[in-house]
Every structure is written in structure tokens, then in C-alpha cells.
Point group: C2
Chain length 314, copies 2
């Protein structure tokens, strides 16, 4: 089982407009969707759809929390949902005839006892897990080094962790020696700095993530592809560039890398899968969902090339 | 008691952003508010704040409905809330550093038995009322002539109705002979047509509302003021033009006109009060609330002049 930890779960609401969103105007919502989300929940959905077994650990509260509980059960995802006093946040995506505009609520405050309960529940659950995915933002009240703490608990049980975080949460997670971190270019820039123009520059920054504690790093570079810096080499992987909704592409990459890690695939294959699955996610209007046929086609046509960098000095 | 019928109640959510809303971008919500709303509920709040007694009749459902129930009780507003199967809608107003962008959900579908229950509850409640306010949009499932039906039931009990509706709901309401209709210029244009540039033209269109069944009409013309066409004359009323949030100005006008009707004030005084109260509502960031001091000042300085039109032919 892949244990997906979603510290800032969300009810993802999508409003569809018939015309264009205009700042300062009044709009009629033509249709709407509500879907349990947050990065780690999206990853869990993709894993289950791909035939793997995923479990979600998340704090939830209020009526939005109840809806997440109901939806995860309906999706056949085992979950350990810790009831908290705060109300689970919503995210709103307004889709008009041109593109998507996103509003992210901050999330409920998590108290110290609630965080302690999350840690002890994680400690119980992780011994039965093969792999841990830690993905998404941290709600108010949770310590900035939460991902470091969870990574260390997992490591003490011999379970590797994949971390998808940004800024300080990522920087602190590195010191817990995660198996893999998966920043995008902007997140890499905030932690390591630039320039990050060429694949070699990006790989060199990935090497710095390794020096700071990560065993492996995969950096998503939008339409330029993926750069991987692993314990066994550096690669650039690219799939066909799709138009659509980039929200969720990172979660699809995380899911593919989790599957590749679990199966102990060679790195080039993990990256081909990652590039194909994230491109398929861009083409899908719903975050946390890909069309399996399109995914297979894009993966088959994805290209992986070696980036020539000095090998890592242990 | 003034019975305020809110067929499409809403939980009005406000997101405050630190920067500007940009279509296609991702935004962090800095703070948020949730408030029971819908036009007739805003009117009821203003009436209670002004020392009058208001009751709300509304269909509500889901967790948004529960929040409306809780908030109305806390505001000291008697309410007859009919539990329906659908979920009460939200409206979202995104306030950035420049202005307000609004997204209106359509509202739950109201079934035939639910509408029948609303009608019979209205019939019971209206005999104890002095005045009825019918304000706001109609949710899916409610017949287009709902306001006509309610106006006729009220009239059969000898209770006058004030109607704030748009388009077809307004056009059909007229045939129920409401005591007063209160369209804005755009709503008047959809029902009667133009040109609606001068006060005399607007008053002439108001006369047409009378010919179609309304006893009186007050047309709100934004910064140009109010035009009233009554059974005893026509007037133009203007208050100081305030900058701020025009959402809720119409509800403040309705509340002032309801108070004036209940007290049987001379029309010029009703209009001075309406102009002052709606100008004070523009200056207030929250729909359904005005500062009483500002309201008094703006009302004292409001100007009313006679519009010279041929008297109504009965």
C-alpha cells in the first residue's frame, strides 16, 4: 500500500462560466462540480485508477470534511481521516471560455494535540506501507518541518518517502533524507536559486538537492519536460506537449514516480511513465484523473535522454 | 410584521485578495466571510436593524441552508424556513484591491410539492403580516409567475406586496397587481423597453408598469437617483453619490420603501428615505447593512423634485 498524506485536504470546487471571466463583473455559474482534492488525494486517486492500492491519511473537519470522507469511500480509497475542530478548506477554479482562474483558501488551523494525533496515526499506519507520498501545502498550525518529521518516522520503519512540497516545507524536508523530491522549476528556484535555463543547469540544482539530503530529485519543467537527478544518473524526459488544464499534472507525475519506485523500475522507464502520465493529466479537465488510453500513447512516444553531469560524489 | 419571502436564499461568501484578481492566475484567499443573503434576507436584516419587525419565509437545504438558519436566528429574525431536498446556493464575491467580482450559483431545484408547501405556508403566515416583500431571483423549478401567485394570495388577505424582480418574473408579477414594484433601469428596460435617458422618459415607462398592473413603481437609476411613479404623483429623488459596493443598494431602497409604506408616509418622504438609505448601503462593504448615522445624514441632505407628467388615467 502507498500511504498518501494530505495535510491540507480540500474540497475542490469548479465553476464553469458560459462566457469570459471579467474582473469587476457579475457572472452566472452555468454548472459546478465538487471533488475531494488536495495533492496527495489526487495522487491516491490516480494510484487506485492505475490498479495500485493507496491509503489516505488526512485531517478533515466541518461539512467539507464530511464530503471528502464520503467521496474517498466512494472511490474505494482506504482512509484514516482525523476529525479536527477546523473546517476543511475549499479551492475554487473558475473555468471560462479561455482558461482557469484559481482561488485557494488557506485551510483550517491544526492544533498541537491534533498534529500529535496525526503523527502517532502516521507512525501506526506507516509500518504497513511500502511507500509514503507527502504532497501539498501545510495548513496553519502544522510545524514547517512536518515533512521532515514524517520522513524520519517512515525511514525509521524502513519505508521510503516521496515529497512534493514548496519553499520552506521542501527545504526542511530535505534534511529528513527523503527518497525522492519532486519540485517544479519555480519551487526549485526558491530553494536553490538559478539560473535554471538549460537541462544541465537544472540538473546541477538537482544535485544540490541531493547534497542537502534527498536521495533523488525529479524536477518538472512544464513543456520543457522532466529533469531527473538520481543515484544512478541524470536524464531529461519529454512527452508531447498537451493543451488543457495544468492543475494536476504534478500529481500525475508523483503518482507515476510512486508506481515506478514501488516496482523498482529502471529510472528511464520511471521518467517515460512520468512524462506520459503528466502530459495525459494536462489533457484531462479533472485534476486527479487521466485517460488510460491517452496515457499509454503519450508514454510510448515519450523520449528520454541522458544529461551528462559529473557523477554524484557520495 | 413585514414578511420577506426569499425564494432563492444564498450563503453569500466573500473572498478578500491582497492583490488584484487576474483571469487565468492562481490566487491565495487572504480572508473570507460567510453571510446569509439573498435580496429578501438582506431586506429583513435592514428592517430589523431599523427597529422594525421582519420575518423571513424561505426554502433552505443542505449545510448552506443550516448556516442560514443559524445566522437568521442569531440576527433575531423570525423565520419560517422550509427544508427542501436541494442544497441552498452560494454566491461568491471576490474583493481585490480594485473592485468586486461576483459569481452567482443558480440555486437548488424546488420540486412541485415543495412549492405547494411554500405557498400554503405563505398563505398561513400572510394573514398575520402588515406588508409582504417579494425580492430576488427564482430558483429552478419554481413557476415563472411565482410572484404573481404570492401577490394574489396576499391581496386576498388584504396585505400589500412590494416586488423586486427582473425580466419575466417582474413582467408576470405585474398582473397580480402588487402595491409597488422596484426595478432598476436595466430591469425596466427588459420589461418595457427604452429610451430611458431622461427622468420624464423613465417616469413614462413607470406609467406603463402601472398600466400593466402595479399600483406604484420606484425605478432606481444608479447615481442618477430614483424615479417614482405613484398613484399621487411622480418624483425624482437624489442623494449624494457614494463610492463603494453597489451590491445591496437595491435591498436598502426596498427596506426604506417598506418602512415608508408601513408608516403611510407621504411619497416625497419615502423617496428621501430610500435615496439616503441606498446611498448609505453603497458606502457599506456588507450587503444588508448600513451605518445608521450615515443613513440619517444622507437622508437629511437628499433632494426630491416633482416630475411633470400627465396624471395617471385610472
Amino acid at each position: 500500500v502507498i500511504l498518501c498524506v494530505c495535510l491540507n485536504a480540500a474540497l475542490d470546487v469548479t465553476y464553469h462560466l458560459d462566457g469570459e471571466l471579467r474582473a469587476g463583473a457579475s457572472h452566472r455559474v452555468a454548472s459546478q462540480l465538487q471533488r475531494a482534492g488536495g495533492k496527495a488525494i489526487n495522487v491516491a486517486r490516480l494510484l487506485v485508477d492505475a490498479g495500485s492500492v493507496a491509503a489516505v491519511l488526512a485531517p478533515v473537519g466541518g461539512d467539507t470534511g464530511t464530503m471528502i470522507r464520503t467521496q474517498l469511500a466512494a472511490a474505494g480509497i482506504e482512509s484514516q481521516l482525523i476529525e479536527v475542530d477546523g473546517v476543511t478548506r475549499r479551492t475554487l477554479t473558475v473555468v471560462d471560455s479561455r482558461d482557469a482562474t484559481v482561488f485557494n483558501e488557506a485551510g483550517p488551523h491544526i492544533s498541537e494535540p491534533e498534529w500529535a494525533l496525526l503523527l502517532s496515526t502516521f507512525d501506526e499506519q506507516v509500518s504497513g506501507a511500502d511507500l509514503v507520498v507527502l504532497a501539498g501545502s501545510l495548513p496553519p498550525g502544522i510545524p514547517a518541518d512536518a515533512y521532515r518529521q514524517l520522513t524520519e518516522i517512515a525511514a525509521a520503519r524502513g519505508v521510503p518517502s516521496i515529497v512534493d512540497a514548496e519553499a520552506q516545507a521542501l527545504a526542511l524536508a530535505l534534511t529528513g533524507h527523503p527518497y525522492l523530491v519532486k519540485p517544479n522549476l519555480a519551487e526549485l528556484a526558491t530553494v536553490i536559486g538559478g539560473p535554471l535555463t538549460s537541462p544541465a543547469q537544472i540538473a546541477a540544482a538537482g544535485r544540490e538537492l541531493q547534497r542537502r539530503g534527498a536521495t533523488n530529485a525529479v524536477i518538472s519543467c512544464g513543456s520543457a519536460g522532466l529533469v531527473a537527478v538520481s543515484d544512478s544518473g541524470c536524464w531529461l524526459a519529454r512527452a508531447q506537449v498537451m493543451t488543457g488544464n495544468p492543475t494536476g499534472a504534478g500529481d500525475a507525475l508523483t503518482a507515476a514516480l510512486a508506481l515506478g519506485t514501488l516496482a523498482d523500475m529502471p529510472w528511464p522507464q520511471r521518467l517515460r511513465d512520468g512524462a506520459g502520465m503528466s502530459a495525459a493529466a494536462v489533457a484531462d479537465p479533472v485534476a486527479g484523473h487521466v485517460d488510460p488510453q491517452l496515457r499509454a500513447e503519450l508514454t510510448a512516444r515519450a523520449l528520454v535522454e541522458v544529461i551528462d553531469l559529473p557523477e554524484r560524489v557520495a
